[in-house]
Symmetry: C2
Amino acid sequence: MTRQKPKEAALTEEDICQRVRDSVLEQRLAPGTKLTEESLCGVFGVGRTTVRRAFLLLSRDNIVELQKNKGAVIASPSPDEAQQVFEARHTVEAALLARASEAADTNDIQNLRGHLAQEKDALAKADIARWIRLTGEFHLHVAKLAGNTPMYHFLEQLVFRSSLIITLYGRHGQPVQSCTGDEHTRLVDTLERRDIVAAQEILTHHLNDIEATLRFERAAGGDDLHQIFGMARAS
Amino acid sequence: MTRQKPKEAALTEEDICQRVRDSVLEQRLAPGTKLTEESLCGVFGVGRTTVRRAFLLLSRDNIVELQKNKGAVIASPSPDEAQQVFEARHTVEAALLARASEAADTNDIQNLRGHLAQEKDALAKADIARWIRLTGEFHLHVAKLAGNTPMYHFLEQLVFRSSLIITLYGRHGQPVQSCTGDEHTRLVDTLERRDIVAAQEILTHHLNDIEATLRFERAAGGDDLHQIFGMARAS
DNA sequence: AGATACTAAATTGTTGACAATTCATCGTCA
DNA sequence: TGACGATGAATTGTCAACAATTTAGTATCT
């Protein structure tokens, strides 16, 4: 798509973080993926310094895990961490939602409906990667209306981690997020009516739905390839 | 105090962040203070690389502001940001408090009472810097009991920023935080009784008290030394 | 005096070489 | 075959020199 031309302005570490985050949100970067400095230097056409800074920032947001002398790996949240992330989302997102429903004007609602249309379009075209990203971004769009920057950034982190969690523990047969019932549309409706209680109820239900699709049984650390492929162990 | 010996194990960027954060919490580092790389290299006995990484992490937490080619400055939250920080504290800390009151066992309560004793001791000895730090850390101790790491770290950020805000906008005549009425003690009491509602009420009141001592009238950006010192401008 | 332009010092940003560590491959031996 | 160990390649960590930018100081002119 957007090909990298050699003589463009150099990408900053924020740009690289953004790219990585987007890839996580689209579930094109799976937990456990090793990110070497050299490969990212090549891909983005930047020096090692920049990549290194990006790694440091991403590790701060728990998107990559940074081990001394071992490099960067896309984080693999444990079941325990997953539970905590969703608990945090419940509280923070509920508060943001309350604020958003107070603050949202006609224009904001219209933008949200535009976003919903994009979601439907992506789903219709079976562009699953884009749809996954859009459903994640929907929550952030709503949150931004609340006008609380610290909480917004915090939720951002949580949404990215949620994406990792869903990739890890979501059942792949299911709709990747349970958003198919179009809870998003109903949420926008309640926002338009400024019905805070209903909005928070939908949100709680929505998040619980997502959590309900998770299955934590699989071995937490180190995939067992024999089990995954259903192969008996060579004795 | 703790003098730096030349042949000790090198400090990591996290150590430096911690030192800076502590200084902010003790209000020994005022907003607007310029931090040069060289000076911190000298103070901590580390290379420029490490200091640089620390700056990047601190800027991520909004403790320092990092301007291209201009270096690092202790952040000066605007009145608007201050309001958002306290709003975020209200929601996050209330949720953590609810969790903490469910989870706290006898041992936890005892540790908190120990902390209260330290606070009183520092106040009695007029060790204001230590007292300020302890009152800030109290909130974090309580929050840690909730067992939600993401929210805990988020609150940590908010507490540090609160310290900057109080330094900037707090009236210096007043008790630096309004914690003199010993709302902390009452909070521990309610935790022991697992009285979530009362605990949250005290918290809300406590945070409102702190906010109430803030005065945002002063010129937001760039101290006007003429005004501060009450000097007429030389015409 | 005040404003402007220029020079020098100080500070930050970047790059590349080198050191340290880890990882992979291969060989040896029981 | 499997375990152990050593060698070499690959990757990460560190440092110092160099480049770019900002800041401070000085001189000059109106």
